[in-house]
């Protein structure tokens, strides 16, 4: 379990992280989401020991790593969003170097390197020079590097950034494997649909404050106060009839007639909904589809971070 309590960080007078409090369950894949400048990278860098905190506490496995930064090296693996590699070094030598930096015993290193390269699907590139690898391969190699010391917690800052769709897919597959290995993974990303697919939990941060956090289903449920439905008809016929029926239906609101569907929100019971469907059919409207729209992480993100942006624009 990772617990962040009241974390604060000032850059001069600017408060980048403002009393951030979060709980990340062990073994989860935690998506850290927020607009640019929200405080995600700052929080991650404090967790890796690269930055000091102005206040607060971060506990990993019961150890406050702000008080005891000497434990970070053992517990945390980090992959930054921008990273460099070394010229004239092979992939295996690159991993051997970091194995040495993490004080892995010499006799264990060759097998470790082979295992890590296999995990990230780079076994064929073992003897290739790092600067000859594609961006996606370098990213995977960097992920392997962050696993060299078998950390319990992995922090990945924009792991899929700049990758083509195939490379992103390959990265996703590796992250799924890490999940099955029981690692706790914190991912920061702007690609929300992919985060929604990969993550078990999400934290949405803006202006250094957590706006919402928890499992994805919890967040969706909390945000969706009402259900949203979509009605489609053959050739878009009967929209007027449906509009009339909806205006008579109690608890049906926000009726919106779009190009190829009618969308409305509803807070009533299932029986009234069933009667509505029957009425539409009885009126001879050729019903093609009547379905509930599932909320998505992007909508939640836009709603939670949208007010502050509007306030900024008004200023």
């Amino acid at each position: 379990m990772i617990r962040i309590e009241n974390l604060t960080k000032y850059y001069g007078k600017f408060k980048a992280v403002d009393g951030l409090t979060l709980e990340i369950p062990e073994g989860s894949v935690f998506g850290f989401v927020g607009p640019n400048g929200a405080g995600k990278t700052t929080t991650m860098k404090i967790m890796t020991g690269l930055l000091s905190a102005s206040g607060g506490k971060i506990t990993i496995d019961g150890v406050d790593i702000i008080e005891h930064p000497e434990f970070i090296g053992d517990k945390v693996g980090y992959m930054p969003d921008f990273f460099g590699t070394y010229d004239n070094l092979r992939a295996d030598e690159y991993l051997e170097f970091y194995a040495g930096m993490y004080k892995i015993p010499q006799n264990e290193v060759p097998q470790l390197v082979d295992d890590l390269l296999e995990l990230v699907d780079l076994s064929e590139k073992k003897y290739a020079y790092v600067d000859s690898l594609s961006r996606g391969m370098k990213q995977r190699l960097c992920l392997a590097r962050s696993l060299v010391h078998d950390p319990a917690l992995l922090i990945l800052d924009e792991p899929a950034s700049g990758l083509d769709p195939r490379a992103r897919f390959e990265m996703k597959e590796i992250l799924k494997q890490l999940k099955t290995m029981g690692k706790t993974v914190i991912i920061s990303s702007h690609i929300l649909p992919e985060l929604a697919e990969m993550c078990t939990h999400v934290g949405i941060i803006d202006h250094g404050v957590v706006k919402s956090s928890g499992s994805i289903s919890e967040i969706m449920q909390n945000m969706q106060k009402e259900r949203v439905f979509s009605v489609k008809t053959l050739g878009n016929a009967g929209f007027d009839t449906i509009n009339m029926l909806l205006s008579e239906l109690p608890y049906a609101e926000n009726i919106s007639v779009n190009t190829d569907e009618i969308v409305f929100s509803y807070r009533g019971d299932e029986d009234s909904l069933a009667r509505l469907v029957k009425d539409i059919h009885d009126k001879g409207v050729p019903l093609l589809g009547f379905s509930e729209k599932q909320g998505n992480l992007e909508d939640v993100f836009m709603e939670l971070t949208g007010d502050d942006e509007n306030d900024e624009n008004k200023k």
Binding site: S52, Y78, P80, G84, T85, Y86, G100, M101
Partner: protein, 292 residues
């Protein structure tokens, strides 16, 4: 004894040293640097050899000593220029390549990271010393220079180079750009060598103009304590049997009972102490949790 052995082993197994050596020797640049170094050393030696041989009908007894100190002086000058150029990119280069953060979050201590950088540059120095053996061999052919003296002088060069190297590393931690760090290091070395002489000259002129007297010798000698040129003169003394540097020490109150310890011996220890403190300072500078 075990502690010392373990310390030496830890330096030998420093992953940064291994990586830097691999990377350095996979580039053509290092071979050009070594070639230029050797060419300069051999070229100057040849010029000295031919000019000194030409002035005598028979064997010139001054030849081996003069050649030896010309080669040694040239070696010291070349190392003074080459070493800071390589060490001043130690940390700023890592930051420019965006590999610095990944280094400092590992379990290797900041001190070991800095020592790794320093040791890898000293490895190059050792290679240069070995490469210059054939040039020195000409001197030994003529005789007049003891092997022990030669080895001690090379140890002095290593201590001197480690101080220069650690200065480069400190500037590398202070400055963002590698070029700025190189320039600052070379400027400081210049100040320590030539600059001190210029400063003493100017101080002498000003003191005489104001007080009609000389600059107190103690001030002069204290300034000279850190001066590599005086150190070099002292090395010449120990080989040639002269005592120019002894006279300076005597003036500031250091009187030696025997002729075993020379000024350059003290300087060697001083350089080791300075290196130790510079490395510790650099390690503190790069420690991540100090970032506010």
């Amino acid at each position: 004894m075990t502690k010392i052995k373990n310390k030496i082993l830890s330096y030998a197994n420093n992953p940064i040293v291994k990586r830097e050596i691999k990377q350095t020797f996979r580039k053509a640049k290092i071979f050009w640097i070594l070639a230029v170094y050797l060419f300069a050393l051999a070229g100057i030696s040849f010029m000295v050899l031919t000019s000194l041989s030409g002035t005598y009908d028979g064997y010139n007894p001054m030849l081996p000593s003069v050649m030896y100190f010309v080669i040694l002086g040239m070696q010291m000058l070349l190392l003074t220029v080459i070493t800071p150029i390589s060490t001043s990119t130690a940390i700023s280069g890592e930051k420019e390549r965006q590999t610095f953060d990944l280094l400092i979050i590992t379990k290797t201590s900041m001190y070991d990271i800095i020592m790794g950088k320093l040791l890898s540059s000293l490895m190059i120095t050792v290679i240069m010393i070995i490469l210059s053996m054939p040039v020195y061999a000409v001197v030994f052919y003529y005789g007049g220079v003891s092997v022990i003296q030669f080895l001690l002088n090379q140890v002095y060069l290593l201590c001197y180079t480690s101080m220069v190297g650690s200065l480069g590393i400190v500037f590398s931690t202070v400055m963002r750009k590698s070029t700025a760090a190189s320039t600052a290091t070379i400027a400081l070395i210049f100040a320590m060598t030539i600059g001190v002489w210029i400063a003493i000259g100017m101080l002498g002129v000003m003191t005489f103009a104001l007080t009609q007297s000389e600059v107190p010798l103690k001030i002069v000698c204290t300034l000279f304590m850190f001066n590599p040129i005086i150190s070099f003169i002292s090395m010449v003394d120990s080989q040639m049997g002269t005592n120019a540097s002894w006279e300076i020490l005597d003036e500031i109150g250091y009187t030696f009972e025997n002729d075993v310890i020379y000024f350059w011996h003290i300087n060697m220890l001083l350089y080791c102490v300075i290196t130790h403190f510079l490395v510790k300072f650099a390690a503190k500078r790069i420690a991540p949790m100090r970032k506010k």
